[in-house]
Subunit: 783 residues, 2 copies
């Protein structure tokens, strides 16, 4: 079903709008207008209810298993944004009556979501305006303010119920008990619930307040406690021309929070009551203002990025990405990470994938290294689970889970997926068993963090251990083939998940090799330069035998080489499979449309690639491959790629930009940035595509800005689209803040910190900057 | 909120209609149009979804606890009646577009629910017709058939999803895991789920089939397995004037069923597949016909009841009641009973109250004694739980739970209820602790069953034990008051639940006395007439000491006597409390409206009675009280009764009829029978009022038919409303089937069985009938 788009982009770069209401588009806006602060995320469900709504609010890290056979997931928290309004006994429902002047707007700069419309039903007329936010100033806080004006000429009788609604679930799975509900003095509601398996306490407190004009009347207020609900019902007579203003100020605390001193029930309840008491005294507008200021100070003014382009969408899509990166990323707590759908939907259950290391971490490394540190520290804290997984599979070292949740949950990939159209049974999800490149990806992200930040303290205490133990995993994972006298890695899934049980997936083998080489270099460097640290790790991890294993494996690990045409085989079997013309299946932008015609076994037997695989390899290790090989592989794999993963087009953008394929780079960029933000009204139903959101920044700064960290070295080869007049941004590198200004003919770099010179590479040459450096640019020829 | 009524009664006595669609009335029709067969019940949720729908299906007896702190409840089973239809991409939603010729009809005789309407949206026009049933022939079976006709002049593109939807819950509490989903050959879907705490396996199997006209086309069929859902999606092009017919034949089996040989997963799955295979071969119409025949043979032809009245509602409301009595009553299994909301809603969680003994059992005793036997056997099987409850409270014998669920669940009353408007806290529900008359009520029902049926085998093995051990409970429950030299029963709740912690509630004291007297008489009779049985029980239960305790308690138990005005005090404190004029609070038929103004403590301190209390006592023990006392109490309590319980007005009807207060009897009768069937669109949202449904039969046969069993004796004093020409019915008494025909001036009784004479009382005189007896009636003067 392709629905008519109702999305509208403001002329300024900060606002995205829903221009008219269509209940078929609920999922789209619930996701892209979601509010959050890294601690919590809340889908932008409308105040009134509609069939098909997903009224999700999640608190990061509060994982729970519904039952022993399911994997852990973020539970859907009781809702505070719901409002059930009857206007003269008629439920407010925008599918009925006459709706005019509809507009819902997310302001990316302020984090405020506003909604307004006029509604007429029979002779009732009202003007509705709502505002809501999740505080970026105080992560426990959320609030809303609703103003309803009687536009008619007679009194308007209104009844509405609002409060805390615990009937929410994760698509029918309920994680919470219905512990305690309490109302205080007709103003404050408090709902206490506990997750069933993980025993995490949630205390949700909401203060509600109604004000009406002087000729109007609050006829009745009463408290209702239906099952799992705690509501107040307000009966109001609204005089013509007058308004009611309904304010709700709420706070959520859990026993998993790292900023509460006593995580017991009574203390959390006290926290909630005190916080809400303060919020009520400050009032909605002041609470919102505090959040706006926090966004301004912590994000927008601190690390501004400006694209001077005639196309407002360039700046807008970047702002959109940055807004969502901050709403989804737990910069406050290293015991959790970024979910593949952020905190905006039930898809992927809040689990963390390689998406973090490959596509999200770079933004934080370069812009907010403190947050990046938390994201990589999470992997260090997950070493226990990774070691358990390795041991359970008969391997050494640390094998990272394909999907991870709470730090000690270990492998969290579900085992069963969608229906197989041929057999009628649910399909087995193999990723948790054999999508093993994740272990090298984790080491990759860890290493990039350490390279960029030079955070030696982190490296010494946490980073080295991850690099050594992931490498050790690979030494045990590779299989010796006596006939070929080489090590191979068989039966894996590479980034191209349409090829299950692949042998020698090129990406996996190269990443494993890189990971082992990194560890070997580290061991040698430590022994030479930091003998005390070497000794410590040697005692703990036996570096001598590890070094021996690494040397042996590295020498004999099979790395697939380009064939005579320059094409690197994605895996041993790929190039001999049947080729399918994908065009008929890729029209209509319907992700996964292929599977209406073929099952996974059939797709497995054709040269069809779900997402950048060999291309990703060539992008990550650009120095290892000559331009001719890159072009040959681009020409070969690009037409065979369905981009059914949202992680794909961004890589194609950057790679095409690197190759000087400007038109293709810009074409992929235009498409990739619209995965969530674009006119497809169904693509985001399950939540935002976190990696793709990270990818927008990657495309701008890595792809067009030409910034890259390669083997520990900063490289800047600007490659702006022709219509861009300039790209202006800052990055952190080796604890120096650089201000970089790129135009079509100049690259200006200022070292704002200036306490040490920063070395970087530009077009194959070495530069150093300790104050300001201006480099003239010539038009780049295709490689 | 008082909504405009959309209910319509056909000119025949078998059909109730929803005359036009209003989504605010969903709950009303979901309940009163619910389908069932005693094994399962299914609310009549519409095919398409609406906000606020309650899509409940329950299998009787399959109780589960959501968590350890909650009481057990009937879990809401995955739904098979749902259909998500998009017409040219527009979701079918009767709040939108133009709806004409709408009609939904429940046929009480056939148990078929049909729905039809025309819907126009933009240029799309269709005619929708659906039929569904829950089989009365094969209790595991349910089915539906939907016909959609393209009324427009162009092809109509339709997409619909239907299957098995396990995202249902009990208002957010999920009882099932999501075990296994499987599709077979594109036609049959099977969903396996297990309750979380009670480990009951459910296997739901549905066969689906679509047929289209010859110029139309089934474009695509695919299977979808979203979380907790198993759906098929059909994409259809419907030519102008042509129809699609969508048939669904389904079967539900559980591991708790008493008619499955092997309750393991594989066997239940095989059962489901075989049953659905047969259903698909027979086809929807044949399956429906088998159910219609079963209703005809097992109910309507077997025990016809005919009211000859100019008001069609008299017969229609009786048929409505009988239809629901059979859909809610587990005539197939004695390990479960009738829920206070039948199987039609989540209210009262499927639990059984005294409603069964007082208001539902009589219908079955007189009409279907085999089913009645199962209902009383349930109480025998509950003796273990009743003894545990007594012991836990420091009492002897058997103390029956106020609410009971599965036979060995014991007390199942929840502890916390709605909000107290003054304190803001949830109110404690005291019924489970101190509403103790239930124990005598159980003995009362048991005794009536034994009296009416003369089922000696039952009495000897089950009934006597219940009567003895309930009486023993009372011997330990009564408290000796040394000062007054009498036994009292303090701190109870009587039928009037607005008086918590009452001392010497008249109803409770009289019932306890009756229960003990019954046991004493039984002991003496057994000793004299059936010494072998006496010996058996004496060895088991020490009848000598029980007899001594009974004699002592009976002699000294305080029984509240009429005061000088003839009024029996409801309890010790009642008559000295403040009197409130109830009129302002009883307008608008809003049950519980009082509690918007007062909390329970305040109501407790006033002479306000929730439901017949002293009146019920006088009705049950009519021979113990003179007419003057009855009138005095009627005059006193009637104006103080809010009838906030649906168990109240029916008692007032019968009692007024007994007193010859014809106008008042008919007025209460008219109101009582409309509690569910009437124009109040909100009263039935939580489910049907099972006791009130039983009460309709009670009012007709007991109230106007003048039939009563009193102290084991049948009495027939016809008291027909003046407009009734005749009342014609059958009853079973002492294993003889009587055909009774009452007119305004004659009572004709035929003994259809004729193997023994039946004795009965009429207007104070004894009669006996072994063939046919005609008695002339004179106009009854008021007592």
């Amino acid at each position: 079903m392709i629905l008519a788009s109702t999305i509208q982009y403001a002329n300024n770069p900060w606002e995205v709008r829903e221009a008219s209401f269509d209940s078929r588009n609920l999922g789209k806006y619930e996701t892209i207008f979601a509010l959050g602060n890294g601690y919590m995320g809340s889908r932008a469900a409308t105040e009134e209810h509609y069939v098909g709504e997903k009224r999700d609010t999640f608190i990061n890290g509060t994982f729970d298993k519904f039952d022993a056979d399911e994997v852990t997931e973020l539970p859907n928290v009781p809702d505070v944004f719901q409002l059930r309004l009857r206007v003269h006994d008629q439920p407010l429902d925008l599918n009925t009556g006459c709706v005019t002047d509809y507009q819902r707007t997310l302001n990316l700069q302020t984090g405020e979501l506003t909604r307004q419309f006029k509604w007429q039903f029979d002779d009732r007329q009202l003007n509705f305006h709502s505002s809501r936010f999740v505080s970026f100033h105080d992560r426990h806080v959320l609030g809303s303010q609703i103003t309803i004006t009687n536009d008619g000429s007679a009194d308007l009788p209104l009844v509405f119920q609002s409060g805390i609604d615990g009937q929410q679930s994760n698509s029918g799975s309920q994680h919470f008990n219905d512990w305690e509900k309490r109302q205080y003095e007709g103003k404050v509601l408090q709902y206490v619930a506990k997750t069933n398996q993980s025993n995490i306490l949630f205390v949700i407190t909401a203060g509600q307040n109604v004000m009406v004009g002087k000729n109007s009347e609050i006829v009745k207020t009463r408290t209702l406690m239906p099952r799992r609900q705690l509501l107040q019902e307000f009966t109001i007579r609204l005089a013509p021309g007058e308004s009611l203003v309904f304010e709700k100020n709420a706070a959520i605390f859990t026993s998993r929070d790292n900023d509460v001193l006593y995580p017991d029930k009574e203390s959390l309840q006290q926290n909630g009551l005190q916080r809400v008491d303060q919020l009520m005294r400050d009032g909605y507008q002041n609470n919102l203002q505090a959040s706006i200021s926090a966004w301004q100070q912590k994000v927008w003014e601190k690390m501004p990025i400006t694209i001077d382009s005639p196309d407002n969408m360039d700046q807008l899509s970047l702002n959109f990405a940055r807004y969502h990166l901050h709403t989804m990323t737990p910069a406050h707590d290293e015991r959790m990470n970024v979910g593949a759908k952020g905190l905006t939907g039930e898809g992927y259950k809040g689990h963390t994938f390689w998406d973090t290391e490959m596509f999200i971490l770079p933004y934080f490394i370069f812009n907010f290294p403190d947050a990046a540190r938390k994201l990589v520290k999470y992997r260090y804290l997950g070493l226990g689970g990774a070691r358990r997984k390795a041991a359970a599979n008969g391997f050494k070292g640390a094998q990272y889970p394909w999907e991870s949740a709470w730090i000690d949950d270990g492998e969290s990939t579900p085992v069963w997926g969608a229906a197989d159209i041929i057999t009628g049974k649910a399909t087995k999800i193999w990723s948790g068993f054999i999508e093993q490149h994740i272990t090298a990806d984790v080491a990759y992200g860890m290493n990039e963090y350490m390279n960029a930040t030079q955070d030696h303290q982190f490296a010494e205490h946490f980073g080295y251990e991850v690099i050594l133990d992931t490498a050790r995993f690979w030494t045990s994972r590779v299989e010796w083939h006596e006939d070929k006298q080489q090590y191979e890695i068989c039966d894996v899934i590479g980034p191209d998940e349409y090829k299950e049980h692949a042998d020698n997936n090129a990406f996996t083998n190269y990443m494993a090799h890189w990971n082992m080489q990194l560890a070997l270099n580290l061991i040698d460097r430590l022994k030479q330069e930091e003998p005390l640290i070497y000794d410590r790790y040697d005692r703990k991890m036996d570096l001598v035998s590890l070094r021996q294993d690494l040397t042996d494996r590295l020498a004999k690990l099979y790395l697939p080489q380009p064939n005579t045409a320059g094409v690197i085989p994605e895996d041993d079997a790929y190039l001999s499979k049947q080729v399918l013309d994908l065009k008929p299946y890729l029209d209509g932008n319907d992700v996964g449309a292929l599977f209406d015609h073929f099952n996974l076994d059939q797709v497995n037997d054709m040269q069809i690639t779900k997402q950048a695989d060999v291309i990703l390899l060539l992008y990550l290790f650009e120095k290892q491959f000559p331009a001719q090989v890159k072009h040959a592989n681009w020409d070969y794999y690009e037409p065979k790629t369905t981009h059914d993963s949202s992680l794909s087009m961004l890589t194609h953008t950057i790679f095409a930009a690197d190759l000087g394929l400007k038109d293709q780079a810009e074409d992929f960029y235009e498409r990739a940035r619209l995965i969530d933000l674009g006119p497809n009204m169904k693509s985001s139903d399950e939540g935002i595509h976190a990696a793709s959101i990270g990818g927008i920044w990657n495309m701008v700064i890595f792809g067009f800005g030409g910034v890259r960290y390669l083997a520990g070295q900063l490289r800047i080869n600007p490659n702006l689209p022709e219509k861009w007049r300039s790209l202006d941004f800052r990055i952190w590198w080796h604890q120096q803040e650089l201000h970089i200004h790129e135009t079509q003919d100049q690259l200006i770099i200022k070292n704002l910190t200036g306490t040490a010179p920063v070395h970087f590479e530009h077009e194959g040459k070495e530069y150093s900057v300790d104050d300001t450096l201006t480099i003239g640019l010539k038009q780049t020829a295709p490689q």
